[in-house]
Amino acid sequence: MIQITNVKKSFKNNEVLKDISLEINKGEIFGIIGQSGAGKSTLLRCINGLESYDQGTITVDGVKVDIKDKKKLRLLQKRMGMIFQGFNLLERLDVYQNVALPMKFWGIPTNTPEAKEKITRLIKLVGLEDKMHQKPRELSGGQKQRVAIARALVLDPDFLLCDEATSALDPEITKGILALLHRINEEMGITIIIVTHQMEVVKQICQRVAFLSKGRMLAVGKPEQLFVWPKEKEIRDFLREESDKLPSSGVNLKLFFFGEGNQRPIVTQMSQELHTDFNICWAKLEDFREDVYGSLVLNMDKKDLERACAFLDSKNVTWEIIQN
């Protein structure tokens, strides 16, 4: 478990992390999302000691991450594999040698049968057994990231830190990489922490997510809770929510659907029962891992509002009036 308590950090006079506290549980896939410059990469780099923090504490399974205690920090870093947006492979080493590199840093012999077996197994796991002896420049972006993943796993880590790992890849390749990360999480039990600005990534594999904006953590929870009906304006702006395109006359009422409630013909029912027409002015359906979550904005006359709300309450539909 990673425990982050009241962490603060500044670069010169610029406070990039403002009192961040959160817990990342063992075995989960945890997302850290936000715009560029929100401090999410910095937070990730603080977790494995690539960067120091000014105040607060970060502990990994009870061990404090302290950049000054080099020996202890190295042991912690061994337990945390990391992958990057730019892949960061060594150009002059082939796939096999790149994967083997962290073992060399730890003085682990790489020419023993066990080591060879392990490196080969990891390369197979990421699906590159036919590229074993090719150089990075002969590989595509997605393949490079796969090599980086194999490399990050070679020291048998308990955690895998992903710093914008799919930001340089196209959507189809991203899906493949995320599926691989998901498999690694399930089969090897490795805790995965994903820093990203891509909503798609969080929706596809994260079990929990923290939203960072300008160094502050605004919310933490399940992605579907955070993003289907976000209260915070910053999160809505990030998602480019409906607020700027709605009609200014009448009342805008937002309905939320989640889980199995999706299928109900709630709008037509309401229209029939209340004998009024509603204008559907915005709608969204979102895939969160296996489930579908949605929201819908209806525009109506003020006089119908009370009846509509009563109707929705009777059907157990969550709603919210959007203030212009």
Partner: protein, 220 residues
Amino acid sequence: MSGNLLNAGMTAIVMKAFNQTLYMVFWSTLFSVILGFFPAIVLTLTAPDGLKPNKIVYEVLSFIVNVFRSFPFIILLVILIPFTRMVVGKSIGTTASIVPLTVSAIPYIARVFETSLRETNPGVIEAARSFGASNFQILMRVYVKESIPRMLNGVVLLVISLIGYSAMAGTVGGGGIGDIAIRYGYQQYKTDYLIVCSVILIAFVQLIQMLGNYMYKKMS
């Protein structure tokens, strides 16, 4: 003036001179690469983006390198005479000329190596750090290893400019192809010597460049 272009006397003179050129260029390259490697490492480590940034060390060393680089070679040759005598026992001759050649090449190669090393992708260095690599491991396994082809390119440039400088070394009795071209070709109006020497130098430089390009391709 000789009748046919490549008579026996000329062949012997030019061959001897070519050997002297090879001798001077080979040793001064070897010594300057070894001796220039260390300041390059220190510059890389202490640079603002290095593993151990140290403004004072970097600026001082950088200044020294610049001072030595800005000396015109012909002046360095003269200034270094006492030093050369101290190192090889005499200040005139082919062996003696290796000293000023090496001294002038060290700051050059230090700068070239520094540039090569600092071109290493910072992301790769960060990745190595994230796996718990020590600074020494990062230096050897990442910086140096990734930079070898670029450093090799620098050595090729060095060899080529040392061939040029070794011609000037003829002024302290260093001999070599350039010296023959000046003494026979220019001062004694023997155009055939001038032509032969030039052709040999051009072919030699071409060969080195081709070899360098081939090795760069092989290694990167």
